[in-house]
């Protein structure tokens, strides 16, 4: 009898958990770095995603059912995405997964989604390896081979720099990939790589490497890292008298870059997905709604990408007419000229979006739009 009691204690919640997934909302999983070193990435992306889900639901939902977003935090740590995505798929029984910003963490979760045949859309992981994980993995942003060439062309053609040092975060797949593609294009453009140095994401002292970079007297430094490290790198470069332009990729985009870096990041450049200063009616409407929803906060590129990832998923479920993984996957793969905030999204045969990139400059503590580069 006692055994039966304990058994029922285990089985009853299980039973209710199973029956819950039969409820009439469509569950969508999201994993994001809501806390930790890349917290502003996860938060922006989550806010964008949340807004899209709310708007879809306000317009009547998908297939006559509401979308229910279940969000889990990866704490900006490796290892966490695997845990939370397993939980989303196995316990929450989500039909699709959205996330993450950082490529290393998206890669981790992609394998799990692929094995479970659950479609995953990364809003803004740009390392090409992410979607190479399998045919259920998609993204709504450009990839680093493109982003690297955009920055390399900008540096050699607009800034007219000849000799550039590259300073890479070796802990991040994103940074390593972007560094590689930048170097290839910059050398092809006739530029010279002055020196390549590495750091470990999360380091606080970069003076050793920056001194080595300075001794090679480059015209500029390419730092394809994340904003927390980049801010300190810019501060210490300035202290060492390394007064050359520093530039990077979409990993820079966070208000924390300016908060921590202050005048040291002033005038520096980076490439990203989108700028609220330019765009279609759709993106203007997005900026307005986002400001209304989040107390006047201006959306950054990661918020826009998060928003787009949810819109693309909603559209795919609608076209699939089903919440079955395989059918959603097929519909996602067939996405063509979808009008999104960050531009028209067409999913190519590699399950990546082909889209334009923008280049921004830090000016008076704000990110100013400079130019758009089409693929």
């Amino acid at each position: 009898m006692k055994k039966l009691f304990w058994l029922s204690l285990i089985l009853v919640p299980l039973w209710t958990a199973c029956s819950k997934s039969e409820s009439d909302s469509i569950r969508v999983g999201e994993y994001a770095s809501l806390t930790g070193s890349e917290a502003t990435f996860g938060q922006s992306s989550h806010e964008g995603t949340m807004l899209a889900i709310e708007e879809i639901n306000a317009a009547g939902g998908v297939l006559g059912r509401k979308l229910e977003l279940i969000t889990d935090d990866t704490q900006s740590k490796s290892g966490e995405p695997a845990t939370v995505v397993n939980k989303l798929i196995l316990r929450d029984r989500v039909v699709a997964v959205l996330g993450e910003v950082a490529s290393s963490r998206s890669l981790e979760a992609a394998k799990i989604c692929q094995d479970n045949k659950i479609p995953m859309i990364s809003p803004s992981s740009t390392n090409p390896k992410v979607t190479e994980s399998g045919d259920f993995i998609f993204r709504v942003c450009f990839i680093d081979p493109f982003q690297g060439t955009v920055m390399a062309d900008f540096v050699s053609q607009t800034l007219k720099l000849k000799k550039v040092a590259v300073f890479t975060d070796v802990k991040s797949d994103y940074a390593k990939g972007l560094a590689k593609f930048f170097k290839e294009r910059f050398v092809a453009n006739g530029g010279q790589i002055a020196g390549e140095l590495d750091y470990n994401g999360g380091d606080k002292d970069f003076k050793a490497q920056l001194t080595a970079i300075k001794s090679q007297s480059p015209d500029g430094v390419f730092v394809p890292g994340y904003y927390t490290d980049v801010a300190l790198i810019c501060i210490q470069a300035k202290q060492l008298g390394l007064n050359v332009p520093i530039f990077g990729g979409d990993g820079w985009e966070s208000e924390k870059l300016v908060e921590i870096g202050r005048d040291a990041v002033e005038g520096q450049y980076f490439s990203t997905h989108y700028s609220p200063e330019v765009g279609s009616d759709k993106s203007r409407a997005f900026v307005e709604n986002y400001k209304k929803r989040y107390n006047g906060k201006t959306p950054d590129a990661l918020a826009a990408c998060g928003y787009d990832s949810a819109l693309v998923l909603g559209d795919a479920i609608k076209r699939a007419g089903s919440t079955e993984g395989q059918k959603i996957r097929d519909a996602l793969a067939a996405t063509k000229d979808f009008e999104a905030v960050t531009g028209k999204i067409t999913i190519n045969e590699k399950r990546d979006a082909t889209k334009a990139a923008v280049i921004l400059q830090v000016r008076d503590g704000k990110f100013k739009y400079l130019t758009t580069v089409n693929p």
Binding site: S37, S76, D205, A208
Partner: protein, 303 residues
């Protein structure tokens, strides 16, 4: 050649920070023979205390003045001393007569507790914050070399605090009691030394050192978060072992050696991502060839 001297300066500055943190590790180890892993988290708390104290202090004193920086540092050190003593009373004192391993594991537990409490959304949250400029900074240039005023402050403070610690331990009554407790706790108690008070004092002093180190560390790299203590804490621990744990000048020497080794490794293309690896390789080498550390046992009497 400029390059070499610049790295020497960078390495010394980094080493001075490690030395300062290692002093706290070594103090506690010297008396209690156990590694207080929560030391690195008290360092973080010191930085956060200064972060929150800076605006009110700027209202009392002139902002970015030496007096306000001193007031902030002293207050933060006092807060951390109280926290350190509380940790000792709550977590370590009940375990004092248990095996050392029990206390060690508890220390790791305390460390994790502080880190994750700090990350909670109602405490500090895990977002990075900009550490305020406590002092005006200037970069001195001569002969192509750059020395930051912060690095000079760090170096000066480390030397000063090392001397103060040395004086306290060697030339005061409390210091004599500390050495007695370190030598034999029971015998010290029989001689009329209040062991609890001495241990509390040691923790208070160690935690105050951690707070000062946390503030100086954050002045160099002005971005703070609840996990900021882990990395410097680990390196300072290596520094303490390198110099001979329990030995005050050893901690300082270990810190400088480690700072220089890391900086020179970091400045070599291709080797720069092995900075931490080199730190740990040094630790392994010292444990194999000279387990007592550079300034081993025989040289100076332990704290």
């Amino acid at each position: 050649m400029d390059w070499f001297f610049q790295q020497l300066i960078n390495g010394l500055a980094l080493g001075a920070i490690y030395a300062l943190i290692a002093l706290g590790y070594t103090m506690v180890y010297g008396v209690l023979r156990f590694i207080n892993f929560a030391h690195s988290d008290v360092l973080m708390l010191g930085a956060f205390a200064a972060y929150f104290l800076a605006p009110p202090m700027a209202a009392v004193f002139a902002p970015q003045s030496i007096s306000s920086a001193l007031a902030i540092t002293i207050l933060a050190a006092a807060i951390c001393a109280v926290i350190g003593m509380t940790i000792e009373i709550l977590a370590y004192r009940p375990l004092r007569n248990r095996p050392k391993l029990t206390v060690l594991i508890t220390a790791i537990g305390v460390s994790l507790f502080i880190e994750f409490t700090g990350q909670h959304k109602n405490v500090f949250t895990s977002a990075r914050r900009r550490f305020p400029d406590l002092l005006p900074t200037r970069d001195f240039q001569f002969a192509g070399l750059v020395v930051s005023s912060i690095d000079l402050v760090v170096l000066g403070t480390t030397v000063f605090l090392l001397a103060v610690m040395w004086f306290i331990v060697q030339h005061t009554k409390t210091g004599t009691a500390m050495r007695a407790v370190s030598y034999n706790m029971q015998a010290a108690a029989l001689m009329g030394i209040n062991v609890n008070r001495i241990v509390s004092f040691t923790f208070g002093l160690g935690s105050a050192l951690a707070a000062v180190a946390g503030i100086l560390y954050s002045m160099r790299s002005p971005s703070i978060d609840p996990l900021m203590g882990i990395q410097p804490g680990l390196h300072a621990f290596i520094a303490a072992v390198l110099g001979g744990i329990g030995n005050l000048p050893g901690a300082a020497l270990g810190g400088i050696v480690l700072g220089l080794a890391e900086t020179f490794a970091g400045g070599i293309p291709g080797l720069s991502n092995y900075r931490d690896g080199i730190a740990f390789a040094l630790l392994i080498a010292i444990l194999i060839f000279r387990p007592a550390g550079i300034l081993g046992k025989a040289t100076i009497e332990k704290v």
